[in-house]
């Protein structure tokens, strides 16, 4: 499954749909980081509204991806975590410290805009 990376204004948006396989994720990481460099994006938003379950693998991956993006000097926001997913992440100890999280796409974008100033 190829996960598209969309661009709105100067932000890259990744909407993860359903279950991710190992290959998908590494491809996504690669793709996203390349795009970041090419487009000089000002922020990345990862939308997990459609994700109903996470496991430790996916949680770690999410954390790592966000950390990589941050290393490239771009703010990241993760939005749309369902309550059950949030509980799982906290229980796994993968509660994305240092990464901004927000309720939904709209609020995530608003936050990213404030980071540009």
């Amino acid at each position: 499954m190829n996960i598209p990376v969309l661009q709105i204004e100067r932000f890259l948006i990744v909407s993860v749909q359903g279950e991710l396989k190992d290959n998908d994720v590494t491809a996504l990481q690669q793709n996203l980081l390349e795009r970041l460099r090419r487009t000089e994006a000002a922020g990345v938003l990862i939308d997990l509204t459609a994700v109903e379950v996470v496991d430790s693998y996916m949680g770690r991956l999410l954390r790592d991806t966000a950390a990589m993006i941050r290393l490239m000097g771009v703010p990241t926001v993760v939005v749309g975590l369902r309550p059950a997913v949030a509980v799982t992440l906290v229980e796994l100890g993968l509660d994305l410290p240092g990464i901004h999280t927000d309720l939904n796409l709209e609020r995530g974008l608003t936050w990213l805009r404030t980071q540009m100033r």
Partner: protein
């Protein structure tokens, strides 16, 4: 436990055997009244077996199970009992037709069926009472649970969750789920956990406060904890629990003021 060991003497068993024969000979007797979808497999074979073993325990157990099933399908209790009583008239008629010449035998059968009906009704009543008690208990537990974890939207974007009394692990879990669902439903930005009413914490509960604030952050709400009592503060420090990254205020009042100012509200009082 229900007393299914009520003794059945030879006379009664013989009478019941006649009843069963008659029921099987006249299929119209067993035709259950129209409560849609409630007709289960016939209990006649179970009764036949019980008669052969001269022990009806299994028969009444099966009756109890059937009643349980009917109640679970929301068949009213009176209808459940009615099913049994509806059999009576056609049965007595059929008994008259089958053994009419032998009045003693008809009488024996009627007495046996009457006893059977009584015992089946008693069993049905017991099942009903037990189920009702269980229902009430579940309902109460649910109400208590909800009462003990209220989440109050005090302002646009601000939720207050007052905690009262001892928090145990199951309640803490419940509380967290409830809170997260509310945050995600209302799109709240700030959650104020008011622990004024919590007399003491252990490490599990303290840990839970932290998890709750972390999970709340993941769904997009910032947490403020208010009302930590001296005892709780001492306990938390001794336990080595740090609420780093979580704002704390002495009372709900200050917490609410902080929340309002975080959201850009200013409260002013008009001169009287």
């Amino acid at each position: 436990m229900p007393d299914s060991k009520v003794a059945w003497n030879d006379e009664e068993l013989a009478g019941l055997a006649d009843v069963l024969d008659t029921v099987e000979r006249h299929p119209e007797i067993d035709r259950q009244p129209a409560v849609p979808g409630t007709q289960g497999p016939s209990l006649n074979p179970v009764l036949r077996e019980g008669l052969a073993r001269r022990d009806l325990t299994a028969v009444f157990d099966a009756v109890g199970e059937r009643v349980k099933g009917l109640l679970r399908q929301d068949v009213p209790f009176y209808q459940v009992v009615q099913i049994l009583h509806d059999v009576t008239d056609p049965l007595y008629k059929a008994l008259g037709a089958d053994y009419g010449r032998d009045l003693a035998r008809v009488l024996r059968a009627i007495q046996a069926f009457s006893k059977f009906k009584d015992q089946a009704s008693i069993r049905a009543g017991e099942v009903f009472a037990a189920q009702r008690a269980q229902l009430v208990e579940e309902e109460q537990r649910k109400i208590i649970r909800e009462l003990s974890t209220p989440v109050i939207p005090v302002w646009d974007g601000i939720l207050v969750m007052p905690l009262v009394g001892l928090v145990d692990s199951s309640r803490a879990k419940q509380m967290m789920e409830h809170l997260l669902n509310r945050i995600s439903l209302l799109g709240s930005r700030i959650v104020i956990l008011d622990v004024t009413g919590v007399p003491s914490v252990d490490s599990a509960v303290a840990d839970h406060f932290i998890r709750t604030t972390r999970a709340a952050r993941l769904v997009g709400a910032r947490s403020i904890i208010v009302g930590i009592s001296p005892q709780v503060a001492q306990a938390m420090v001794r336990l080595g629990v740090s609420l780093e990254g979580v704002e704390t205020y002495g009372d709900l009042h200050s917490g609410l003021q902080r929340a309002l100012s975080l959201l850009g509200y200013t409260v002013t009082r008009e001169p009287q």
